[in-house]
Amino acid sequence: MSRLHDLNFFVKLGGAFALMIVAWLAPDWRWDIPFAALVLALLWVTRVPKLGGYLKGAGLLTLMVIVSWMINLLLQGIAPLDALAIAAKMAARLVATTALFYFVMETSTPGAILAACSAARLPAVATLVLSLLFGIIPMLRDEFERIADAQRARGMEIDDVSFLKKLRFALARGVPLLVQAIRTAHAISFSLTLYGFDLSRKRTTWRDVGLMVEPRMTWKDPIR
């Protein structure tokens, strides 16, 4: 956990929004592509966890955006080079946007988000939505990896095989992942009810929240 994890969630979210607006206001691909590259470099420099997985997804996204926009624009009679420039601009903007929010998601735990929202005295419903929105994806991704480990532990060779086999085995993870997603939703709903979460009541937090959010309890001054 770096200091970035302790930075207040709203500071990170605000920063991500501001940079996203910069990306979308840039005039053309000559600005957008370097900006997207800069954002990716920022992720690398700050050692955002599991960046490799994100880059694979971003690569796929770039390819799909360029191909779909090229087809669309060419069908509209736009010159190929002009179409490519527009497609590249759109892809770069999307990469910058997703990278910025990936950064926020990966460096903010649900507990830190809950604390920041509670300290800001946000309504309970907003607190819950933000915590789940940014917390559930990493949780399910970790679960996906745990299931992959379980497949390996039962003898499935899922690494040293062809792409098609890899894809088939990844699909086999869908069943337990779905079950786990339902269980997670149930656990969240159950614990919210059992532990008195009330949409009409503003929460408090045990953490010290300012520009930074206290990551853990310390015992420098024991109470007993």
């Binding site: 949780m139 532990a153 003898g155 614990s191 059992l194 008195g196 015992w219």
Partner: protein, 501 residues
Amino acid sequence: MLLSADKLTLGFGTSEPLLRDATLALAPGERLLVCGTTGSGKTTLMMALAGVVPQITPIARYEGTVALNGEDVATLHRDALFSRVGYVAQSAEDQLWDLSVEDIIAFPLENRATPRDEVRARVRYLMEDLGLIELAGRRVLTLSGGERRMVVLAAALASRPELLVLDEPTTGLDPAARERLCRALEQAAEHVSGVVIAEQDPAHLASVTQSLALIADGTLSAVTPLAPALDDAARWTRAGLLPPRKPSGLRPAVTPGRELLSVRGLRTRLARASGKPVLDGLDLTLRAGEVLGVIGRNGAGKTTLMKSVLGLMPVAAGEIVLDGQAAQGWTTARRARHIAYVPQSMRQILFHMTAAEEVAFARSMGEGHEDTETVLARYGLGGQGETNPFALSARQQGQLGLACAEASGAAIAIVDEPLLARDLAGRALLETFLERMTSQGRAVMLISHDLELVDDVATRLALVGEGHIPYDGPVGEGWQSRAFAALCWPAPYRTARESAA
């Protein structure tokens, strides 16, 4: 009365209810233990006593009343009810999501707008009392099963409830953690008026409970004093439970065969906060015909050892030999053809649409030849071949795990905390599995905190601690060893053995 149940009938829509006309009364200050086999209705009863049924989880048949200080729990406002009742579910995972340890403990207080200083004071108090300080800042989903349970217990105690309802709270806890749990329950008496605990093994909680009710055949017995009941073996057997404090005396004597697994000088890349590897210079062997009981404190490295052997965790140094072949370079999948893994929660490793497909898959990965239905029937799953594995109960999933491990034909099975072994029927299934494995020249590594189970069925004992194996040898001598004494745990069946002596 603090808590009363009057003619409580609970069922899930089948013709016969799970529990009929259950009646009990708990006076302030009383601590009641409810025992019964897996599937006897303990969990449903605990949920009803806590008001979880019907307030959060409605069920098809709910008749009679449960009253807390004379007020019907079914009609009390939820928030008012759950600020007065602390509840720990059988599966702690049902109460957890991806928060830190402090977040989970503070959650009920924060939600009820308790001032920050008071929240902090109570969280710190509970973490100190329950020995959770070392877990500060950890995300609960990265903790072991036993650690998660202690965190959920702390959350249940945080709002200082009048009534505490605990469903199998000692599951996955090592003996030291069980003692901390008992101590916490004693200290909680300042605030908590009454406690109801469901367990299969009463011995662990005998020091903090005074009365007992048994569930058998859908009926809750009358409440009786616990202490004399502990020595009434026939009563426990009639309820389908293993009599407490009674060694089975069946520990098999074996002559180990050829070496199936050898681990030499194992050092993991995974290190503790101090920088010391979790396992460092660990040596271990497993021979045909053996049931190796592996014990150690929560967090001692038992899971790391199992994962390193399976190839799920990177190893910095050392040698792993499977069936005479160096296996360090093998993929996990290749190792898994020699080692069948049965985790505590089978849900993690099921991914087919039917139980039969799970068994067939296990067989296809190894050298098993036996017919699927025969294997399923052996482990009490006859006729369940077409059932979706996720529709099976946790107990049945454990049985499916044993069936898959046997069907795979793998030379070694690693069985991690087999919870089904805590009643007579489940113990019989586990013993069937162990007997078949060992008689076929295969071996089992049994990782457990249930020292009585290890004492009953293991042929050899290995103690994991300080990054290596400080004791490896005969089971009986293990309980007398210096390494075991260093744990400060009571030896299994100590009371019975002292009485006999």
